[in-house]
Amino acid sequence: MSNLEDLYREVILDHYRTPRNRGELPPPATCTEGTNPLCGDEIKIFLNVIDGIVQDVRFSGHGCSISQASASMMTAIVKGKSLADVRAVARRFKQLMTIEEDDGTTPADIRLGDIEALQGVVKYPVRIKCAVLGWNTLLQGLNSTDA
């Protein structure tokens, strides 16, 4: 009876049950904390950036299936990418979540792959903040790395 298949796609539940890159990284990796004060979800993103490339990334914390799966998928796609590409992927993701408009500046070869499974979240607007929590935290981490 459930119409929830759109939201809880198998690939999302897979990342939720078996998260990729879950854990922590020791310094000099940076650690950025993000919270969703409305629901109490907390996430930490550990980033190891060398020569403008994300060498390694981990996430820890707790949250719902959407926030955890989104963070897991995010770490999988950004590992090994240049900072510019990571930002472009993040922008594309926010476009997918309808919180940023596509201004045509994101290169065509920036694709989201499995992450597009999260598109179903858009039909449940209160859950969009769950999906973007990890991404916003990652971007915050990148900004502090740049500084």
Binding site: L4, C39, G40, H62, S65, Y124
Partner: protein, 408 residues
């Protein structure tokens, strides 16, 4: 069932609403209640036929509107058995009531070397206003801990109260459903020379309240949780305390005289009601009080005990160890508010699946983060019931949880 719930439900138009052709099961009344026709109609009729500014103008309409507003105050005063309607202050909501207490009574009475006592089961509204003030005034905040069975651990209460000027606590936890021994706690506060401030948001809508019998000094509660509209809250306090407290918000309506050199303030209760108050909402609250009195608060409480019993057994019999209810097991010691964990499924996912079945529960920290940490949960799902809830709502919750099981 003690109450004729079917007849009560018919008076709540929102409860007749359907989503996707199916009825809704509203289980979020601890958050906010729905409104009966009599409240909606009273507000609508007042705006159509009785509306005018109050307390300022002298024409007939204004006089009648003022009388209606003050009539609602009298109803509220009687509802909680206040000695006088001068003891009833209308605020924006219960949170503002607590801020009024902290900023007016607290600022005048608390300084370095002083202490207040709160409990680990407080809502943020009875924590943050005190913390804000303590940052400036430097007084100490102490805490009554919890027992393993979700009660307040009052074994060291006398010791905790030593030197304390105010004991501010909830009469019923919005997370656990625990009903606290308010009368005994007020007495203990007084024995230690402290005043007793009660956050009644969760208890006042659900059981008879007699501030004199409780021995409380102050009581805060909100209209929107007791079948009234949003936009109005109540602070009741003993007249002597209110007389001694400085005004909170300044402006029109709360003054007696204003000159370029200063002001004198109005008599109670107007001293604490600066600016045009929520007139229409107060009229609605008065109608809500009439509605609740018509049903009887003891009947409401009895109904909720029965429903709590029913829900507790329905949930635990079907799901056993898969469900963990954070709260007392004895329905006499708790209200009809169930915070629960369902296996290891995140509460947001639980509420999302329940929503698919039109079962409305809240997921999150319920504005009680310190308590959530203590019970070892970052969030819970919470089902909370009221006088219009019945077994069909519980059954829908139990059924829908089966779907959570199959997805996760």
């Amino acid at each position: 069932m003690t109450l004729n719930v079917a007849a009560i439900r018919q008076q709540f138009p929102m409860l007749a609403k359907q989503i996707n052709g199916k009825p809704i099961h509203y289980l979020d009344s601890a958050n906010s209640s729905h409104k009966p026709n009599c409240v909606i109609d009273a507000m609508s009729a007042f705006m159509r036929e009785g509306y005018a500014p109050i307390g300022r103008s002298s024409y007939t309409l204004a006089g009648e509107a003022s009388a209606a507003y003050e009539g609602a105050r009298t109803k509220v005063a009687k509802f909680i058995n206040a000695r006088s309607s001068r003891e009833v202050i209308f605020t924006k909501n219960a949170t503002e009531s607590m801020n009024l207490v902290a900023q007016s009574w607290g600022r005048a009475n608390l300084g370095k070397g002083d202490a207040i006592l709160l409990t680990h089961m407080e809502h943020h509204a009875n924590i943050v206003p005190w913390q804000m003030l303590a940052k400036e005034s430097g007084f100490e905040i102490r805490w009554v801990p919890l027992t393993k069975d979700f009660q307040l651990d009052l074994s060291s209460l006398d010791q905790l109260l030593r030197g304390v000027k105010a004991f501010s606590f909830t009469s019923m936890s919005n997370v656990l459903g625990t009903i606290n021994p308010t009368r005994e706690m007020c007495a203990a506060a007084h024995a230690a020379g402290a005043i007793a401030i009660v956050d009644g948001c969760q208890s006042v809508p659900h059981m008879a309240t007699d501030v004199q019998a409780l021995g409380a000094d102050m009581l805060a509660f909100s209209s929107h949780k007791m079948c009234g509209p949003t936009g109005v809250g109540v602070l009741w306090a003993r007249e002597e305390l209110l007389e001694a407290m400085p005004p909170f918000l300044g402006g029109g309506g709360m003054i007696s005289e204003v000159s370029l050199d200063g002001f004198t303030y109005a008599e109670l209760p107007h001293k604490f009601e600066a600016g045009t108050p929520p007139i229409v909402e107060v009229i609605g609250l008065g109608a809500a009080v009439d509605f609740l009195n018509g049903i009887g608060m003891n009947e409401v409480r009895r109904h909720e005990i029965e429903l709590t019993n029913y829900a507790y057994h329905a949930l635990t019999q079907r799901y056993g160890d898969d469900i963990t209810i954070h709260g007392p097991t004895n329905p006499e010691l708790r209200g009809a508010t169930f915070s629960f964990a369902f296996r290891d499924v995140h509460p947001h996912d639980v509420s999302q699946v329940l929503d698919q079945h039109n079962v409305c529960v809240r997921a999150g920290h319920h504005c009680a983060k310190p308590l959530m940490r203590l019970i070892g949960a970052n969030a819970t799902a919470r089902a909370s019931m009221y006088l219009y809830s019945d077994e069909s709502d519980v059954d829908a919750l139990v059924e829908a949880l089966g779907d959570v099981s199959s997805i996760f």
